[in-house]
């Protein structure tokens, strides 16, 4: 019985020491852990770069989302996923479909390089609804 209480006293002491060690770890590592791996551009307003398109999407439930360079998505590049989710955040509840981009009436082009729109617009016979910048454009399918 005495051994057990001795063991328990040791454990309580161990917990107290762990607590001190934990606080010390928190104070020295917290800032560093937060500084890593998170792009600053998201910090204060996720998806601000596509906000301009929002008024044009009223009533649109699902739209195509063309992100360039497109093949990055297939590599599950975290920067591309991040860019997609940022745009989805800003444009919710309109759903962005980046798998079947040209199946929808409206397509939002979100390019990292300038003027990437021309080739896909011509190929899929789209008309421009509004070009917001060299990087962002909204297009619609031509009606037959």
């Amino acid at each position: 019985m005495g051994t057990f209480f001795h063991f328990r006293a040791m454990l309580i002491l161990a917990v107290a020491l762990l607590t001190v060690q934990n606080f010390s770890y928190q104070s020295s590592h917290l800032a560093q852990s937060l500084a890593d791996s998170f792009p600053d551009e998201n910090r204060y307003s996720p998806g601000y770069h596509v906000e301009a398109a929002r008024p044009y999407l009223a009533g649109a439930h699902v739209i195509g989302y063309f992100i360039v360079p497109y093949e990055y998505k297939l590599r599950f590049d975290s920067a591309m996923v991040y860019r997609f989710q940022r745009s989805q955040y800003a444009l919710a509840p309109t759903v962005l479909d980046w798998d079947r981009v040209f199946d929808h009436d409206l397509v939002l082009f979100d390019c990292k390089v300038r003027n990437c729109f021309a080739a896909p617009i011509q190929e899929h016979q789209l008309t421009v609804v509004r070009q917001f910048s060299d990087h962002l454009l909204l297009a619609r399918k031509k009606k037959d």
Partner: protein, 439 residues
């Protein structure tokens, strides 16, 4: 002002329900934290129901429904008249509790200052859903289809929308406040729930230790749903034990309500609830600590909430899937015999979770629980945690795809959900025999 009204109505809603459920003459400090957590869950449920009925979000019906439900719960005649015991000092002095919270609030404040919209999954997943609902479009339900989820936990997004109803805009304050409130409720429930059983010194130390765990402090401020699930898990075990001790029908129903909140807060919630109820039957019922009738009463609200939300989502709301169709992980049962997978899981568990300084040595307490001659209730909690770990290890073994990535994005969160329960059970065992009940 908006934040105060939000807090008051949320608390009142939970307190009214708890008051009608509790059989105690007095409502003690631990019940206040339980009430706040219950209020956060119920307000989310009310918002969900109102949005379903109206077809889209609108603030006036949401607030009216919240006030209406609070008054209804308050007017339900209770068996005994309750008095509110606000004497925190008889358990743990309030100023001590507030002092415990200071380091946690400093860490959370720092996290919020760095990332006002939360960590990646918090904004891209939970806050995006909340945005979609709050913006009032009738297309809000499509957002539940978006990102790689088999189910559609709605509790956190609707809880955020409930808060935005009071601020009338999508402010960063509400998701942060929700995360802080849930983490404060966890610590409050741990400290004031343990105090009558193990005495104030042990209870205080449990709170200080929980706050000191770097992963707890950091992750609770990240605005993920893990802190929500962790609270409902701790709360439902706490209330289920009370139901067992007092043979109380109403506590059984309350634990069912908390389990219902748990199941709708994260996908893993359904596994936690089923394991908890099954184990309660096989462990507590066999030891005659709780009857199967009380467990059935606990299962009823949980199954009701689960079935109702699944039916609503699957049959009435969701369109055919159009995004993330390749997300369904396939299953390879031969993975169980693949020792390489075992090695990866164990390596990840020990190097990234158990032995990492972020876990704050919580596994020492777990080992103590394993080694110690235990009370029946502690043995129950231990068996529950082990069953849950075994279940998820099996999932890791049989699921195909990138195992390392799956471990990286999910194992630490499962660990976080169990952490408060682990601390609670270990401290109860460590300081057993020092509370009021043992004097």
């Amino acid at each position: 002002m908006a934040a105060i009204s939000y807090l008051l109505l949320t608390f009142f809603l939970g307190f009214a329900v708890l008051r009608s459920c509790s059989m105690d003459k007095e409502v003690g400090p631990s019940d206040l934290f339980l009430a706040l957590g219950t209020g956060l869950g119920l307000s989310s449920l009310v918002t969900f129901f109102t949005v379903l009925v109206c077809g889209k979000y609108s603030p006036i019906p949401v607030i009216s429904a919240g006030v209406g439900l609070s008054l209804l719960a308050w007017l339900i005649p209770s068996v005994k008249r309750k008095t509110i015991n606000m004497k925190f000092g008889s358990a743990v002095p309030l100023y001590c509790f507030l002092l415990i919270l200071v380091p946690l609030l400093i860490v959370q404040w720092y996290v919020y200052a760095q990332r006002p919209w939360g960590d990646w999954d918090a904004w891209s997943f939970w806050n995006t859903r909340a945005n979609a609902i709050f913006r009032g479009d009738d297309n809000w339900s499509a957002i539940f289809h978006l990102i790689f989820q088999a189910r559609h936990p709605w509790l956190l997004p609707f809880s955020i929308v409930w808060g935005w109803t009071f601020t009338a805009q999508e402010t960063v304050l509400v998701p942060a406040l929700v995360a802080t409130l849930f983490s404060v409720c966890i610590i409050g429930l741990c400290v004031y729930g343990l105090a009558p059983q193990i005495g104030r010194f042990g209870a205080l130390l449990s709170g200080i230790y929980l706050v000191s765990i770097p992963f707890f402090a950091r992750h609770s401020g990240s605005q993920y749903a893990d802190v929500v699930a962790a609270f409902y898990l701790l709360g439902s075990v706490f209330v289920l034990e009370k139901a067992s001790q007092e043979k109380s029908v109403k506590y059984s129903l309350l634990s069912g309500l908390l389990l219902g909140c748990l199941v709708n807060s994260k996908d893993e919630g359904i596994v936690l609830c089923i394991v908890l109820l099954l184990l309660s039957y096989f462990h507590l019922d066999r030891k005659r600590l709780i009857s199967w009738k009380l467990l059935l009463l606990a299962a009823a609200p949980f199954l009701g909430m689960l079935t109702w939300s699944e039916l609503m989502m699957r049959t009435m709301l969701l369109p055919a899937p159009f995004v993330g169709g390749d997300s369904q992980a396939s299953v390879n049962l031969m993975g169980v015999f693949d020792w390489h997978r075992w090695a990866i899981i164990l390596e990840h568990f020990f190097l990234v979770i158990a032995l990492h300084p972020l876990s704050g040595g919580v596994w020492l307490l777990f080992a103590f629980l394993l080694l110690r001659r235990r009370s029946l209730h502690s043995a129950f909690v231990l068996k529950f945690m082990l069953s849950f770990c075994v279940f998820f290890c099996s999932l890791y073994l049989i699921s195909t795809g990138n195992l390392k990535w799956r471990l990286m994005v999910s194992m630490d969160r499962l660990f976080f959900m169990l952490m408060p329960l682990m601390v609670w059970a270990a401290f109860r065992e460590l300081f057993s025999g020092q509370g009021e009940g043992h004097r």
